[in-house]
C-alpha cells in the first residue's frame, strides 16, 4: 500500500481524514434527504394526505358535492396525493353546533374536520386564529378571477378565511300541476305571482278554493323582510337591531293579513316535505332547495301523482326596485401543523372553484358559480345546466341577475340568533292570530274586522317580543 512512502508526513494523514469526514457528511445529508427525515411541504402520490370534510351540499337523495369530490379524488387528488374524505353531509345549523362542540371540547364532540362549509358566523365560533388564510395560498391573479362581491364576505379583519365555492339566491317554486287546476277554476295565473301583493292575494284565494289548505310557505321571513325594506328604501338592521318601523309595517300588514286569513304555512320545517304531502303547492326558498324538490306527491291512500314544478323570479315588492338576497356559505379550512394538509386544502379549493369544475358542481345543486368566467358561461348558454329539471330555475336566476338588485345579508354580532328569534316569533304570532281569526269568525264576528284587528295586534305583539 506504500505506507512506507505515504505516511512520511503525518499532516497528509490528517488531510485524508478530513476528506473522509467531508465525504461522510455529504453522504449523510443525501441519505437523510432520501430517507424523508427532511420532509417536503407538499403532498405527493407517494406521501398522500387525507382531509376530512363536513359539508351541506347535498340532500338525502343526492349530493353533487360528493360527486365532485369523487372526481377530484380520482384525478387531481390522486396525482398530487390529496384525498378528501367526506365525513358528514348535513345542514349548516348542525355544522355550527358540531363546530362549537368540537371547539369547546364538549363530551362526545367530534374532532374538528380539516375542511367544512359554513356561514361566516362560524369564524367566531371556531376562532379566526385556527382557520387557514386562503390568501396565503391563492395568488392575487387567482383571487381576481372570483366574482368580487362574493369575496367580501370571506374577510375577517384582513384575513381571508372563507372561500366562496357556491352562492345561492332565492326563488319562488310552484307545483305547476296542481296550480293549473287551481288556475283553471279561479282564473289566477302565474303572472299574478310576480309581485308580493299578487302572491299574497293568491294565497288567500287558494285557501278558499282548497277548503283551508295552505298555498305557500316562506322559508325565511327574515330575508323576505330584508328585501322588502330595501325595496321601500328602508334599513332592516341598524346597529345590530331589527327596525320594526313604519317601513316594516308596509311589509308586515299584507303578509300578516294573508297568513291570518289562511293560505300561508306557518309550521317549522322545510317546504319540500310539505310539497310531498300537498300541504303546500309553492314556496319561497333558496335556489339550492331545487335539490329537494319532489317529482311526485303522495296522498293519504298511498297513491302518488307525478308533478311538474317550475321556478319563478322572487316576487317584487315594488316594480321599480326589484331585489333579492344572495347567500351561501363558504369553505373553511382548519390551519394544520402539517403544511402538506394546508396545501392539500388549497389544491382542492382551487380545483373546486375552477370555472369548469365549479359550474359542473353548482348547476347540479341549484347554486351559482363563483368565478366571473363561469357566471358568464352559465348565463350565456343555459344548456350547460345538464339537468333539464333545473332549467326553469336558472331562467329565473338569469332574470334576477340581469334585472334585480342582489343583496348580501349583513353580518353582525348575534345575527344568527336574532334571525332565528325573528323567524320563531313571526310564526308564533301569526299562527296564534290565525287560530284566533278562525275562532272569532266561527263565533260570528265579521271576518274583515277581525282580520284588521288581528293584523294590528300581531304587529304590536311582534314588536313587544322583539324588544325582549
Amino acid at each position: 500500500m506504500g505506507w512506507e512512502n505515504g505516511w512520511d508526513d503525518y499532516s497528509e494523514g490528517n488531510m485524508i481524514m478530513k476528506k473522509t469526514i467531508s465525504i461522510l457528511l455529504c453522504m449523510l445529508s443525501v441519505t437523510l434527504c432520501l430517507s424523508g427525515c427532511v420532509k417536503s411541504d407538499r403532498p405527493s402520490s407517494g406521501e398522500p394526505v387525507v382531509l376530512t370534510m363536513w359539508h351541506v351540499y347535498g340532500s338525502q337523495t343526492k349530493s353533487p358535492l360528493n360527486t365532485a369530490i369523487d372526481r377530484f379524488n380520482d384525478t387531481v387528488g390522486k396525482e398530487n396525493g390529496v384525498a378528501i374524505d367526506v365525513v358528514s353531509v348535513t345542514s349548516s345549523s348542525a355544522i355550527d353546533k358540531a363546530l362549537a362542540a368540537s371547539t369547546n371540547g364538549e363530551p362526545g364532540a367530534e374532532k374538528l374536520p380539516d375542511l367544512f362549509t359554513a356561514y361566516p358566523r362560524v369564524a367566531e365560533i371556531v376562532g379566526t386564529d385556527k382557520l387557514l388564510a386562503w390568501d396565503s395560498y391563492f395568488t392575487k391573479e387567482e383571487l381576481a378571477a372570483f366574482h368580487s362581491e362574493f369575496l367580501s364576505e370571506g374577510y375577517f379583519d384582513d384575513a381571508f378565511l372563507m372561500l366562496p365555492i357556491a352562492k345561492s339566491t332565492e326563488a319562488f317554486y310552484l307545483n305547476k300541476t296542481l296550480f293549473d287546476r287551481f288556475s283553471a277554476d279561479t282564473g289566477v295565473t302565474v303572472d299574478d305571482l310576480g309581485t308580493v301583493d299578487g302572491m299574497l292575494n293568491t294565497a288567500k284565494v287558494y285557501y278558499d278554493w282548497s277548503g283551508g289548505q295552505n298555498f305557500m310557505q316562506i322559508n325565511d321571513f327574515y330575508n323576505y323582510v330584508y328585501v322588502g325594506m330595501k325595496a321601500f328604501g328602508g334599513e332592516w338592521i341598524v346597529d345590530g337591531r331589527l327596525q320594526l318601523n313604519e317601513t316594516f309595517e308596509r311589509i308586515w300588514d299584507p303578509l300578516a293579513e294573508a297568513a291570518i286569513y289562511g293560505g300561508i304555512c306557518l309550521e317549522d320545517g322545510y317546504a319540500a316535505s310539505r310539497w310531498k304531502t300537498v300541504e303546500v303547492i309553492s314556496n319561497i326558498g333558496s335556489t339550492a332547495d331545487v335539490l329537494y324538490q319532489p317529482h311526485e306527491v303522495v296522498y293519504a291512500d298511498n297513491t302518488a301523482e307525478p308533478i311538474s314544478a317550475i321556478a319563478l323570479p322572487y316576487p317584487v315588492f315594488d316594480e321599480d326596485s326589484a331585489g333579492v338576497v344572495y347567500r351561501g356559505d363558504g369553505l373553511f379550512a382548519i390551519k394544520n401543523s402539517d403544511e402538506r394538509k394546508n396545501y392539500g386544502a388549497y389544491l382542492f379549493a382551487k380545483w373546486l372553484t375552477e370555472a369548469e369544475n365549479n359550474l359542473s358542481f353548482v348547476t347540479e345543486a341549484g347554486y351559482l358559480p363563483v368565478m366571473d368566467e363561469a357566471l358568464d358561461t352559465l348565463f350565456r348558454d343555459l344548456s350547460v345546466v345538464e339537468n333539464t329539471d333545473y332549467h326553469s330555475l336558472y331562467d329565473a336566476v338569469d332574470i334576477m341577475v340581469r334585472n334585480y338588485e342582489m343583496y348580501a345579508l349583513p353580518l353582525y354580532d348575534s345575527a344568527s340568533d336574532i334571525q332565528l328569534n325573528f323567524e320563531k316569533n313571526v310564526k308564533a304570532v301569526l299562527k296564534s292570530a290565525h287560530n284566533q281569526y278562525l275562532k272569532r269568525v266561527n263565533e260570528g264576528e265579521a271576518p274583515e274586522s277581525v282580520l284588521h284587528d288581528l293584523t294590528a295586534a300581531s304587529l304590536r305583539e311582534l314588536r313587544s317580543l322583539s324588544v325582549q
Binding site: W7, M27, G46, D85, T90, S273, V298
Partner: protein, 534 residues
C-alpha cells in the same frame, strides 16, 4: 492495543455486514417494513373483526327487544280496537292510528340502538291495488350524522303516514313515501328458519337516495307465531364510517370494510367515504391474494390489506382492513430508505473508523519503524502504550548495546595497544635471543676452540654410561640448578651428591662443573642444529 485492534476488526466487520444487508434489502430478499405493516394490519383486523361481531350482536339484542315491544304494542292495539291483523289491509284510518300508537316505540328504540335509523314493516298496506306491492310501517332516519353517537340527533320520517309526521313535528325526508317496497318478506321465513337470531342484509342502495345501508332485522310474530312483520335498524355508510374509522399508530388512517361476496365480486361498506359508492350503481370490486396479502382491486385504485371471515346473523361476511396501494408503497419506500440510510451510515461510519484507525494507529507505527531504521531522532510518542513501551525498550536495548559496543571498542583498542606492546616486547626478546644465540654461537665456537676434541668426544660417548640418577643430576646442572637445589630436588645428601659428582666427572672425563656446562652447551647447540637441518 488489543482493544484497539478489536475495535478495528469490529468496524470492518460491521461495514461488510452493512453492505451485505443493503444488497439483500435492495433486491427485496429482506423487507422488514412489509412485515411490520402486515403485523400492524393483522392486529387491527383482529380488533376490528371482534368489534364488528360484538357490535352486531349487541344490535341484534336491541332488535330482539324492539320486536318484543312491537309485538306487545301491536297486540294491545288490535285487542283494544277489536281488530284482527288481516283487517288492517286497505284500512288507512286503522293503519294510521296503529302507526300513531307504535311511533313512540320506534322512536325510543332508535334512540337506544347504535344505528342510523330504525323501522318496522308490517305485512299490510293501505292500498293493495298498487301495481307493486307496498308494505306499511314507520322508518325513521337520522338526518345529520357527524359522529357515531346519535343522542339528540335530528331525524326525519323516511316512511310512514304524514299524519304521524305532522303530529310529531317530524321533518320529512326528501325521499319520503307513505309506504315501502321491500323484499324482506320474500326471504324472511327462509332467513329465520334455521334458527338465526337476526338477519343482516347486504349493503344496498336505499331507494330514492344516494345512500347505501345494511339492515339488522328480526321478525315480528303474531300470537300464533306467524311472521307478520319485521323490525330492525339501519346502518348506513356514513354511520359505518363514523363507527369504524381507524387510525393505526404506525400506519395512520386505515380503511375498515365489511364486505359481501357476490359470487366472486365484492361490495360492502367502508370506513372511508372514498370507497363507499356515491352513485346508484353499487361499486363491485375484486379480491385477489398475493403472497400473504389480499389485493382489493377497485378498478381505478388498488388497496392492499387483510381480510377475515366474520359470522353475522347466520351469514358469513368478510371483515377487511386495507391501505391504499400508494400508502403501502410509501410506507415500504420510507422504511426501505430508512434501512438503506441506516445501513449506509453504518457502512460509511465503519469505513471511517477503519480509516481513522489506520491513520491514527498504524501509520505512526510504520513511521516510527522507519525512523528507527534510518536512525532518525525518536520524535513524539505514539500514544499507544504497548508500542511506545516496545520502542522505549528497543531504544534502551540499543543504548545498552551501544555502551557495550563502546566498551568493546575500548577493550579492542586496549588489546591492540597491548598487542603492539607485546609484539614490541617479543621483537625485543627475539632480538635479545638472537643476540644471545649469536653470543652463544660465538661462545660455543670459541669454546669449541678451547675444547679438546678428544675430550669432547670422550664426553659425548660416555654420557650414556651415566646412571639414571647421575644423568638426572647432570640435567639439573644443565638447567642451572645449584648443588643445594639439586639436593632438595633429588632428596640426596651432600656426601651423596659429592659421590655422584665424582662419578660423573670421572665417567665423562671432566674435571669441573664449568667444563661440564661447556661440553653440555656445546652438545645442545649441536643437537639444535641437527634438528634444524632435519
Amino acid at each position: 492495543m488489543r482493544r484497539r485492534l478489536t475495535f478495528y476488526l469490529i468496524s470492518a466487520l460491521v461495514m461488510f455486514m452493512s453492505l451485505i444487508l443493503l444488497l439483500l434489502n435492495f433486491f427485496g430478499i429482506m423487507n422488514p417494513t412489509d412485515h411490520q405493516i402486515m403485523d400492524a394490519l393483522d392486529g387491527q383486523l383482529s380488533n376490528y373483526a371482534r368489534n364488528v361481531e360484538r357490535d352486531y350482536d349487541r344490535l341484534d339484542a336491541y332488535a330482539i327487544s324492539f320486536s318484543e315491544q312491537m309485538e306487545t304494542a301491536l297486540q294491545n292495539y288490535l285487542s283494544e280496537n277489536g281488530l284482527a291483523f288481516e283487517e288492517l289491509e286497505n284500512n288507512a284510518e286503522a293503519v294510521t292510528r296503529l302507526q300513531c300508537a307504535l311511533y313512540d316505540t320506534v322512536y325510543l328504540n332508535m334512540q337506544l340502538a347504535p344505528s342510523s335509523g330504525a323501522f318496522y314493516i308490517l305485512d299490510t298496506t293501505v292500498n293493495s291495488q298498487t301495481v307493486a306491492p307496498h308494505y306499511n310501517g314507520i322508518y325513521l332516519k337520522y338526518i345529520n350524522l357527524n359522529s357515531d353517537s346519535t343522542v339528540n340527533n335530528d331525524f326525519s320520517l323516511f316512511r310512514g303516514s304524514f299524519i304521524v309526521g305532522n303530529e310529531n313535528g317530524l321533518t320529512f325526508h326528501s325521499g319520503w313515501q307513505n309506504e315501502m317496497q321491500t323484499d324482506f318478506f320474500d326471504t324472511c321465513d327462509a332467513t329465520f328458519a334455521d334458527g338465526a337470531y337476526y338477519a343482516l342484509s347486504p349493503a344496498v342502495t336505499i331507494p330514492e337516495t344516494w345512500e347505501r345501508a345494511r339492515y339488522v332485522y328480526v321478525p315480528i310474530h303474531d300470537l300464533k307465531g306467524d311472521t307478520i312483520g319485521v323490525c330492525g335498524f339501519e346502518i348506513n355508510d356514513l354511520f359505518f364510517q363514523l363507527a369504524y374509522k381507524t387510525e393505526d399508530e404506525q400506519l395512520g388512517p386505515v380503511v375498515c370494510a365489511l364486505l359481501d361476496d357476490r359470487q366472486g365480486s365484492y361490495t360492502g361498506q367502508f370506513s372511508s367515504s372514498r370507497f363507499n359508492a356515491s352513485n346508484d350503481a353499487a361499486a363491485d370490486f375484486r379480491i385477489a391474494e398475493k403472497d400473504d396479502w389480499v389485493i382489493f382491486d377497485f378498478g381505478t385504485e388498488q388497496c392492499i390489506g387483510k381480510e377475515d371471515a366474520v359470522h353475522l346473523g347466520g351469514d358469513t361476511f368478510s371483515a377487511a382492513i386495507m391501505l391504499t396501494q400508494a400508502q403501502y408503497d410509501s410506507f415500504v419506500q420510507q422504511g426501505q430508505i430508512k434501512i438503506y440510510a441506516l445501513l449506509f451510515i453504518a457502512a460509511v461510519f465503519s469505513f471511517a473508523c477503519c480509516v481513522f484507525m489506520s491513520n491514527r494507529y498504524v501509520a505512526p507505527i510504520l513511521k516510527k519503524i522507519e525512523q528507527i531504521k534510518t536512525n532518525e531522532e525518536a520524535g513524539d510518542a505514539l500514544g499507544i502504550r504497548e508500542i511506545d513501551d516496545l520502542f522505549a525498550f528497543l531504544e534502551e536495548k540499543d543504548s545498552l548495546h551501544e555502551e557495550q559496543l563502546a566498551e568493546l571498542e575500548k577493550a579492542k583498542q586496549q588489546a591492540e595497544q597491548e598487542a603492539e606492546q607485546a609484539k614490541a616486547a617479543y621483537d625485543r626478546a627475539l632480538e635479545e635471543y638472537q643476540l644471545a644465540r649469536s653470543e652463544i654461537h660465538q661462545l660455543s665456537d670459541e669454546k669449541k676452540k678451547e675444547i679438546v676434541l678428544e675430550d669432547y668426544e670422550y664426553f659425548i660417548c660416555n654420557l650414556k654410561t651415566l646412571t639414571p640418577t647421575e644423568y638426572r643430576i647432570y640435567e639439573l646442572y644443565l638447567t642451572g640448578k645449584s648443588a643445594k637445589e639439586i639436593m632438595e630436588i633429588t632428596g640426596t645428601k651432600e656426601n651423596t651428591l659429592k659421590y655422584h659428582n665424582k662419578n660423573i666427572y670421572s665417567k665423562l672425563g671432566i674435571s669441573s662443573r664449568k667444563q661440564l656446562l661447556r661440553f653440555a652447551s656445546l652438545k645442545q647447540h649441536q643437537d639444535r642444529k641437527g634438528e634444524q637441518t632435519k
